[in-house]
Symmetry: C2
Subunit: 149 residues, 2 copies
DNA sequence: CAAGATTTAATCTTAAACAATTTAATACAT
DNA sequence: ATGTATTAAATTGTTTAAGATTAAATCTTG
């Protein structure tokens, strides 16, 4: 069952997920800087642009994040004027997040981002990095026997 | 070209990578705590267990990390006695990382981790989270038209 | 060989992540 | 109804992640 090769970095399925996630975030960074958002902040905005208003726990379920991450993040976004936080009247434990008009308007500026990113991917992503990751992912698609999460 | 649905969270390929990566790291955490490692520290150990000695820049290429992340990480691991850092004689700019015997020995304790993780996955990962991610990944495998990185 | 460019790691700063704990509100069981 | 459990968010402390800059060594090129 246990195998020495289980500990090879290239046999860890977790690693391409970890590395790809960070590389994509890096690509986003210059684009998001133009609208003064970080990547996790952008994810919050994506949710709010869909729903306008949501309680923290539901937002957390959507993004797989807890209040220990979300609370400081949302406070920062409130300071920027993108949203407001208020306790619910029905249940004082819950906090409702509401998009402000400034937050609404930001959506217009954001519409070009997905396409810009695709261009970024070709221009600024080092080709060796892409190949490395494609190789990793391909390996796992081609050979499930050695997968280690 | 631009489409309103481009900004739907569920159309972002980046998100399942980001979320899966964090969920896997969370699963690792209790297992790695037993051998006093964090997930990125574990990745460094995986590389060192393969090569015993490596310079920082090469390690960075392997893990897609720069010195601004690696230097503090490696210093912490040096304090734990897992490795030593020393300047190369041939090129004083480069820093060589070498596994200590303590670092070597840790490998034995780590051999069970990949299998333990698979059990963790079944026991401790909330099934709804897994289903959510499977749905996301499936969506992208099934429909490349709407992919937004 | 000397000036400028490049490489390598370290430093500084800001922002996420997340475990563990705390605080407050609500649900619930006897 | 009251004490106990549960839930929601916030707080605290530690570790990553990464942009921007710095400092030192090495390479390059005239």
């Amino acid at each position: 069952m246990k195998n020495d090769s289980d500990l090879f970095l290239d046999n860890q399925l977790c690693f391409p997920f970890y590395a790809t996630s960070r590389l994509i975030t890096r690509l986003y960074q210059p684009l998001l800087k133009k609208i003064d958002l970080t990547y996790p902040q952008y994810l919050v905005m994506l949710v709010l642009w869909e729903s306008d208003s949501i309680i923290v726990s539901q937002l957390g379920k959507r993004l797989f994040l807890n209040s220990n991450t979300l609370t400081p993040l949302l406070k920062k976004m409130e300071q920027k004027g993108l949203l407001i936080r208020k306790r619910s009247n029905e249940d004082e434990r819950t906090v409702i997040i509401e998009l402000t008009s400034k937050g609404q308007k930001l959506k217009t500026k954001a519409t070009g981002i997905p396409n810009s990113l695709k261009e970024q991917l070709n221009i600024n992503m080092p080709m060796e990095d892409i190949l490395e990751l494609k190789k990793s992912l391909w390996k796992f698609l081609g050979n499930f026997e050695t997968i280690q999460l």
